[in-house]
Symmetry: C2
Subunit: 460 residues, 2 copies
């Protein structure tokens, strides 16, 4: 039986199995649901054993557990794949905004509605269906590549223990490629592959002036005003072309390749619709780049918040004693968060007027950006496998936000390939999350083909 037929025949069972998993409210951000996250891990471990994985383990962390499973290829020289996903889900507030109970999965036509259906349980589960389809098609009792699954339980809480987990189990996770199934495609009829994610670092800048708020009648005009100085620091972070003006900020930025640029331009992007979604009156940003390029392949500096001095009703004619801002930087390959932090720190200190003092605190080490090499064997084979499953060309996208993906690639020393079938319309992190069942089946079919392709393409 070919993979597609196997998968189509297994549709009802797949939906039923996924629904059982979705009924477990594994909200990692809510301590009241931490028992459910553990139940979710146990459920997944059981399912993976049923699927046929000879090795299935629940990996504890100081927080919530991950699930690891391994199914070795028959050929000891076959390549190894690590599949990354997560089994925890977002909170459901405001629960009154849901049309159905978030943990009572409901089929509506081709859709399955429920928290986690798209992010990320549905996308984890297409892997077990895909692997069974691969075996059904080959008639073998082991996959053509060694398949390792690593399914995290704290992704929606910022993966606080994930880097440690990777390091501790480094040897068990040895692999040739990391396949990440936790992103989206452009549209149901425009299959695409994510090939990069922006990184992030964020800071708080505190500028201190006079020891107390001063009366602006007596002192205004003759002492430095920290709010004015902070405004100048924030304003000076961009030049007239919308580029970030922190010296050295672009030193390590890899320019988008002509091939990727061309692929992005071919996406059916409707800027008016995008502006409606953003609820913004204009699309503006760095000169020389399109809107999609600005949010995907270009780094940014954003003022997330600022405060200082009198912020209540009415006027208060003071020179405030201090002013504060939160600023975050989206990063692209090969920017390193720690190097950017040093450059931002230097920019602030070098541009601070006399008589003021500044402190800059960064919110941790930041998140590194990641990208796939479009010319690599791993990406090309995956793109072909998806194209075969979907029956159409696969374009490239990126994501503007960040997850733990760069850490996985870094610790395991293997390239990232994103194979995922979520949609931006899936309402992940919002009420009425859903997934398109036919897309999950295409995801399963994609990996059924992909393991065969990787068996040759990734052979050393």
């Amino acid at each position: 039986m070919d993979a597609r037929s196997y998968i189509e025949a297994g549709r009802d069972g797949f939906v039923e199995t996924l629904s059982r998993w979705l009924a477990i409210p594994s909200i990692s951000a809510d301590p009241a649901h931490h028992g459910d996250v553990r139940r979710s891990a146990e459920w997944l471990a059981g399912h993976l054993r049923t699927t046929g994985f000879p090795v299935v383990e629940v990996w504890e962390t100081p927080g919530l557990p991950a699930v690891f499973a391994e199914w070795p290829a028959a050929d000891p020289d076959a390549p190894t794949v690590v599949v990354y996903g997560h089994h925890d889900v977002q909170p459901v507030d405001p629960v009154e905004a849901w049309d159905t109970d978030p943990f009572t999965p409901t089929v509506v036509g081709d859709r399955l509605v429920g928290r986690g259906s798209s992010d990320d349980k549905g996308q984890v589960l297409f892997h077990t269906l895909g692997l069974r389809a691969n075996l059904a098609a080959s008639g073998a009792d082991a996959p053509p590549v060694t398949v390792k699954l690593l399914v995290e339980g704290e992704e929606e809480s910022g993966s606080p223990h994930f880097a440690d987990l990777l390091a501790r189990h480094r040897d068990r996770l040895d692999c040739d490629v990391v396949v990440v199934s936790d992103t989206t495609m452009w549209a149901a009829d425009v299959p695409s592959m994510c090939v990069g994610m922006r990184g992030l670092t964020d800071c708080q800048i505190d500028v201190y002036g006079p020891g107390t708020d001063l009366h602006s009648g007596s002192f205004g005009g003759a002492v430095p005003n920290p709010a004015r100085a902070l405004a100048a620091l924030l304003a000076g972070m961009h030049d007239a072309d919308g580029r970030v003006a922190v010296p050295g900020f672009y030193d390590d930025v890899v320019e988008i390749s002509p091939g990727e640029r061309e692929a992005i331009a071919r996406l059916p992007f409707d800027e008016a619709e995008w502006l409606r979604t953003a609820n913004s009156a204009a699309a503006v940003g760095e000169a020389g780049y399109s809107t999609l390029e600005r949010v995907w392949v270009r780094p940014t500096a954003e003022v997330n918040g600022m405060w200082g001095g009198h912020t209540g009703a009415g006027g208060k004619t003071i020179v405030p004693r201090s002013a504060h801002a939160k600023v975050s930087f989206r990063l692209v390959p090969d920017q390193e968060p720690l190097r950017i932090q040093e450059r931002v720190r230097r920019y602030v200190l070098d541009n601070l007027p006399d008589g003021l003092r500044a402190e800059i605190g960064f919110g941790g080490p930041g998140v590194r950006p990641c990208a796939s090499d479009l010319e690599s064997a791993g990406v090309r084979a995956a793109r072909e496998a998806m194209a075969r499953a979907f029956g159409s060309e696969v374009l490239y996208t990126r994501e503007g936000g960040s997850g733990p993906e760069a850490d996985i690639a870094d610790v395991l020393g293997a390239p990232l390939v994103f194979v995922a079938v979520g949609l931006n319309s899936d309402r992940i992190h919002a009420p009425n999350e859903k997934v398109e069942i036919p897309l999950l089946l295409k995801g399963a079919e994609s990996v059924a083909y992909l393991w065969d392709a990787y068996a040759t393409a990734l052979r050393g």
Copy 2:
């Protein structure tokens, strides 16, 4: 008996009388003390009758009452002087910081400690002593000029009904000069005359961007950020020389005269001491002006406060939907608050990036700046009268802050002359307010001489 002897002989009685008035807690900002403000007005009216004023009236307002008194000169062609002061006082919080009860006036050596001793009851009261000294010296039973007193009851609450009061009684207040006794001298041993006060207008600027806070991963870099735009607007309000860069801002500014500049430079100003008072690490401001010039004769723009986006703990990677700032402008002659408001509004709207919306709200019509003409007969005679009383040269100062003085001059169509003997060390508006009794006596002596001088100098 000459004026000085009369005043020295009357010292004890003066202190006793002033102490009775200071015992009335006439705090206009506190509704619980509004009855006391009325008692204060009645007390003053009684005292003025005792002094000999043939006309004494309590003038009601929709708020708290003012006191008016008039003592006509014998000569119907003699000039007329309006003396301005106020009988309400500042609140006393924190009351535990006072060494003595704020409304139990206490003599400590040459000082009288109590709320209102310097600001402004002591300075109002030296006028009755001075007027009696003038009569004692001349032997006449009417002053050489018509003396009108206007003593407000809401000055410490922003004089909300004062402009109306002036307009309503415009005819009764007809005069040739307005003598204001509510300011300070440079120091006890450096007598000086205030010759100007800065005006003020203040606004709130609201910048609106996307309809909601946006995730900076998905949208950052491609939509306008209102916090960044506001920072640029605020930063752009000054140029590299510390001048206000709002177009047209300086159009009506009268440059300081060489004579006043020279007089200011002769004041024994200790910048290190001033910085300690300001608790600031540097004195900075408009290029080409000294610190005293910056706070007295130059206009400013100050960011009083700002806020927007995420201001809580930790990071939140958003493009905020809005950002806000409070900005105030100190004004100097001949800047008009309403014209400055129009220029600020135009600056904000002309410099707002695409896709953002701004609102600018001004806190009322603002306060007009005022200044005396140093070459006028009114100022020259007053300076000479003070010099005679103090036995030393009188220098010029200004005040960086603002009161209702410009309105008085404007409505009455008469020039302002400041004759006052407060000190910056009097702790007005703070705990342990005090006044130097010998300076009040010098104030009385100054006006005793001044009325004689005005009788000739101001004759039309």
